[in-house]
């Protein structure tokens, strides 16, 4: 995919920008995300004509307008279903699904569930800003308890949905968590998501400066990020803190992860864990980590490929064709009990 062709020099980030004026609020986290996506497209050498962005409705879902590729701005919550159909028609396309916490987890929760379960080969980017931004700031399924909004003036009473746990429960085979402002990690995750065969689910924390400003502050601010996040790397220990001074290990009796000080009393070599993205239980445990007592896990939480749906679909078609003499509708129509007058 990354082979150089002198006639077609590789595209740069900017080449993937469409001619449409970007209409997000100044300071919106969406800008950082689109930058990361463009970088990724350039890095992997994506062909514009084979690239399709499908979205639902929301601020985030305007995304396809701003990328110079094929794009489908669908209806609220249904992007996964549109994307599934697109891939069934043409499994060679590179499909990206863009959705929000409202679009993907509220009205579209069921489609997200099923595209993950079926494992269609696409990248699903869920922009989590904890609000329905486009409709002016009502709370969303990821809003925290107590969050005030025009539809929850006394505070949200719904316990929030945690996207990564939901995805794992749904049977997703690639689950990652990223933050708009952490470009390097984001591009890295998107690149791996791109190369993953099957549905790659990436939750991206995205700051909405108008309706939920500061949502990411507690874990993404420069000053706190290293203490508040365990940034996952395959094969590496689960350390965090400015100088990696803290880490996570298994608490076998409780089957939980617990925080300990590196070099401290509990650093006894027992039950230490290296990040293994193919371990589904570990993935679930990492997804469960909650601030403030535990760090938030970012990076690739889970990655364990299995065959993708559209590939299996075409395998069956090929197999059927191998086993059958029929080639055209004429063959079908004439088969079975017929009689001639």
């Amino acid at each position: 995919m990354n082979i150089q062709d002198p006639a077609n020099p590789p595209l740069k980030d900017k080449d993937y920008a469409s001619n449409q004026e970007v209409r997000w609020c100044a300071g919106c986290g969406d800008y950082a995300i689109i930058k990361a996506v463009q970088k990724t497209l350039a890095a992997v050498g994506a062909k514009k004509e084979n690239t399709v962005f499908v979205s639902g409705i929301g601020c985030s879902s305007r995304f396809p307008y701003y990328i110079d590729s094929y794009g489908f701005h669908g209806i609220h919550g249904r992007a996964p279903a549109i994307a599934s159909g697109t891939l069934l028609a043409n499994p060679d396309l590179d499909v990206w699904v863009i959705t929000g916490d409202g679009d993907g987890l509220s009205i579209g929760g069921n489609h997200l569930l099923h595209i993950l379960r079926r494992n269609f080969n696409c990248q699903i980017l869920l922009f989590n800003n904890g609000t329905y931004a486009l409709t002016k700031g009502q709370y969303s399924p990821t809003s925290l308890k107590g969050q005030r909004s025009p539809s929850s003036p006394m505070g949200v009473i719904d316990p929030p949905l945690e996207p990564a746990q939901f995805a794992i429960g749904a049977g997703a085979r690639f689950v990652a968590r990223a933050i708009d402002t952490q470009q390097k990690q984001l591009v890295d995750i998107l690149t791996q998501a791109y190369h993953h065969q099957g549905a790659a689910f990436v939750e991206i924390f995205q700051n909405c400066v108008v309706f939920n400003d500061g949502m990411t502050e507690s874990f993404a601010a420069k000053s706190t990020a290293s203490d508040a996040q365990v940034m996952l790397e395959e094969g590496k220990p689960l350390t965090f803190g400015k100088n990696g001074e803290r880490a996570l290990k298994c608490d076998p009796g409780k089957l939980n992860l617990k925080v300990y000080d590196v070099g401290g009393e509990e650093d006894d070599g027992h039950c230490e864990i290296l990040h293994d993205p193919s371990n589904r239980t570990l993935a679930f445990l990492l997804a469960q980590l909650e601030l403030p007592d535990q760090p938030l896990a970012t990076g690739i939480i889970y990655n364990d490929p299995s065959p993708s749906y559209e590939v299996e679909t075409y395998k069956q078609i090929e197999q059927a064709q191998e086993n059958s003499q029929r080639r055209r509708m004429n063959d079908v129509l004439k088969q079975g009990f017929t009689w001639t007058i």
Binding site: L87, L88, A89
Partner: protein, 622 residues
């Protein structure tokens, strides 16, 4: 037919047609029995119409009235248009079957019962206090009591079958007897059994033995002069190769055929719902033709993935019934806005809401014509008979692709399950569906509009240089970019309107099916009322009534000449299986006023009902 005469007098004239109804427990194999009988008649040169009458429970307790499965067939020597208002012969394999089907018989009908099943237990289960065979309530019918169960066991006693397997042959015993009743050949059924049970030859053998025994039993009855076989005239069918086809099968094949005709893969996305599900089942067996079927998580996903298929370059299609259609309406609007072709089949059932899911109705016409938010016109067409579901589907696809629009094809539960002989079309003789407007020529092409059809180009991802964005927001008429410009919205609304309404010009003009312009009364039908209206008008014309039959295929928009044609009649009568929806749509199109004739019992019209309605409105002209 006059059944009594035919079965009793040796030299009775061969009747034009006969209606036979088979009934028994869900587990009795009634459907196999019925379709084999149908095939045999068709191959004997009869025209036929068949309809299976399943219970709505999956498998109700044996012997219960709501577990009765039935199958009705009319066959004969003229164009058979319906399964017959009532049956001439009932084959009832247990008391419950007799009980629930007695209403379906003509006076004087022949009733064949399996006497062995009239045990106290089964009589009770059917709610009989006294055996109807003794109580006199069957006076007026000619009842033939045969111990079918025991005779079946006897017939297979020499064979290597278990008791259960032996009991299961009962239906073929009954079929053998029915074959004898109508002088039909057992050959096709025997070879069908041999093929079907190729892996279990002992089962084939047992069934064949039962079939032959039933037939032989008839011959002894004949010998003892109890009853004669009845010969039914054969039809003058157009020469050609035929097969039986149900509406669901025809619709499924219509989709696959349409995809072949436009050189695209079929992408069929659906969610199961009665009575549309068999379309999915049929298409799922066509993977060897490259058909993609996708069982989506719900109807919304089905519609959206069908849109995705069309977007991706396949012919996207979906099928559902009323409640599922309701769920698709938002996404249908998206297809209109994105200008993508999708064929949407609605196999209607009795509503509102869940309604009577296994019963038939035509009450989704409003929904098809008007049921979307915004000004969102969508062409709607309707199929009139099982085999016509093929043509109507191909036509729907042709319009969808030509005009780049979703198209709704209406059929119904009756059409879906009913079967009729079908002269197999030759794909090579069908007109290809032109996707030439899918050859972009310059940069503006994704939003280029064909000046005649107003269709935009069908540009799918994968084509270099034509990258573009579509969606549900209003688009600029030229650039295709999102536009909030007031005048542009007005123009685009007009284009969407014109695109569908210009279609009027391309539609074949409305013809009078039977009768003449200027007849006194026209019976105006649509969809599956075709059969009963057609036969009723034929009968009444024969009696001298000035009545015509007009049948609509294009429900929205109407062909240009439609209102003019309708205005030639003094009166219009619209029988429909709803509370009067076509009457509304006709009023909306400024057609001459029509009288509604609503029927919402979950059952098709009978010929007699329509004849009576005609008679009530006209004097005979001699």
């Amino acid at each position: 037919m006059s059944s009594e005469l035919c079965f009793t007098e040796l030299d009775a004239e061969a009747p034009d047609s006969a209606v036979v109804r088979f009934a028994g427990d869900s587990g009795d194999g009634i459907q196999v029995l019925g379709s084999q009988f149908g095939l045999a008649n068709a191959m004997a040169g009869n025209d036929i119409a068949t309809f299976p009458d399943y219970p709505s429970e999956v498998r109700a307790p044996a012997g219960s009235t709501y577990g009765v499965s039935a199958f009705q067939i009319q066959f004969g020597g003229r164009n058979i248009r319906t399964i017959g208002d009532a049956a001439d012969v009932l084959i009832a394999l247990n008391p419950a079957a007799l009980k629930v089907n007695l209403d379906e018989l003509n006076p004087g009908s022949l009733i064949v019962v399996d006497e062995d099943a009239f045990t106290t237990r089964f009589l009770q289960k059917a709610g009989y206090e006294e055996s109807p065979l003794e109580s006199g309530e069957l006076d007026g019918y000619r009842v033939i009591r045969i111990g079918i169960s025991k005779l079946t066991l006897a017939a297979v006693s020499d064979l290597e079958v278990t008791k259960k397997e032996a009991q299961r042959c009962k239906n073929f015993w009954a079929l053998g007897f029915t074959f004898w009743l109508f002088n039909r050949n057992r050959g096709a059924t025997i070879s069908w059994l041999q093929k079907k049970f190729a892996a279990k030859p002992h089962i084939a053998e047992a069934n064949i033995a039962a079939l032959n025994a039933g037939h032989a039993y008839g011959e002894t009855m004949e010998a003892s002069h109890e009853i004669n076989p009845c010969n039914i005239r054969s039809a003058e069918m157009e020469p050609g190769t035929y097969r039986m086809v149900t509406g669901s099968q025809a619709a499924a094949w219509g989709l696959a055929a349409a995809a072949e005709l436009c050189g695209r893969r079929l992408g069929f996305c659906s969610y199961p719902i009665t009575p549309a599900t068999p379309i999915l089942h049929h298409l799922a067996t066509l993977k060897d033709l490259g058909v993609v079927t996708f069982q989506a998580e719900d109807e919304i996903a089905a519609m959206c993935s069908a849109i995705g298929c069309s977007y991706g370059g396949a012919l996207g299609a979906t099928a559902t019934s009323g409640p599922g259609m309701a769920l698709k309406t938002e996404a249908i609007g998206l297809a209109v806005m994105a200008e993508l072709p999708v064929v949407i089949i609605n196999s209607q059932r009795a509503g509102p809401s869940t309604g009577l899911p296994t019963k038939t109705e035509q009450s989704d016409l409003y929904q098809a014509v008007y049921g979307r938010n915004g000004d969102t016109p969508v062409p709607v067409i309707a199929a009139r008979s099982p085999s016509d579901c093929f043509d109507a589907t191909v036509e729907a696809a042709r319009i969808a692709v030509t005009y780049m629009t979703p198209v709704i094809m209406l059929m119904d539960g009756f059409l879906g399950n009913a079967a009729e002989p079908w002269q197999i079309p030759d794909m090579d003789k069908l007109k290809p569906i032109d996707t030439a407007h899918n050859v972009p020529r310059d940069e503006e092409r994704p939003f280029h509009r064909n000046s005649k059809t107003l269709a935009r180009d069908w540009v799918s991802p994968g084509r270099p240089g034509l990258e573009h964005r579509i969606g549900g927001l209003e688009r600029d008429i030229l650039s295709g970019n999102v536009s909030y410009d007031p005048e542009n919205h007005q123009r685009m609304s007009q284009i969407r309107f014109d695109k569908v309404h210009n279609l009027t010009k391309d539609l074949p003009p409305l013809n009078v099916e039977q009768g003449e312009l200027w007849d006194e009364l026209a019976v105006v039908g649509w969809g599956s009322t075709y059969g009963p209206i057609s036969r009723a008008v034929m009968n009444m014309r024969a009696k001298g009534y000035s009545v015509a039959h007009v049948h609509l295929r294009y429900m929205y928009p109407f062909p240009k000449n439609q209102c003019k044609v309708l205005s030639t009649f003094d009166r219009l009568l619209v029988p429909e299986m709803n509370m009067g929806q076509l009457v509304s749509v006709m009023r909306d199109a400024d057609c001459p006023p029509a009288e509604g004739m609503p029927k919402v019992t979950g059952r098709p019209f009978t010929i007699a009902e329509i004849e009576a309605a005609i008679a009530a409105r006209l004097e005979v002209k001699s």
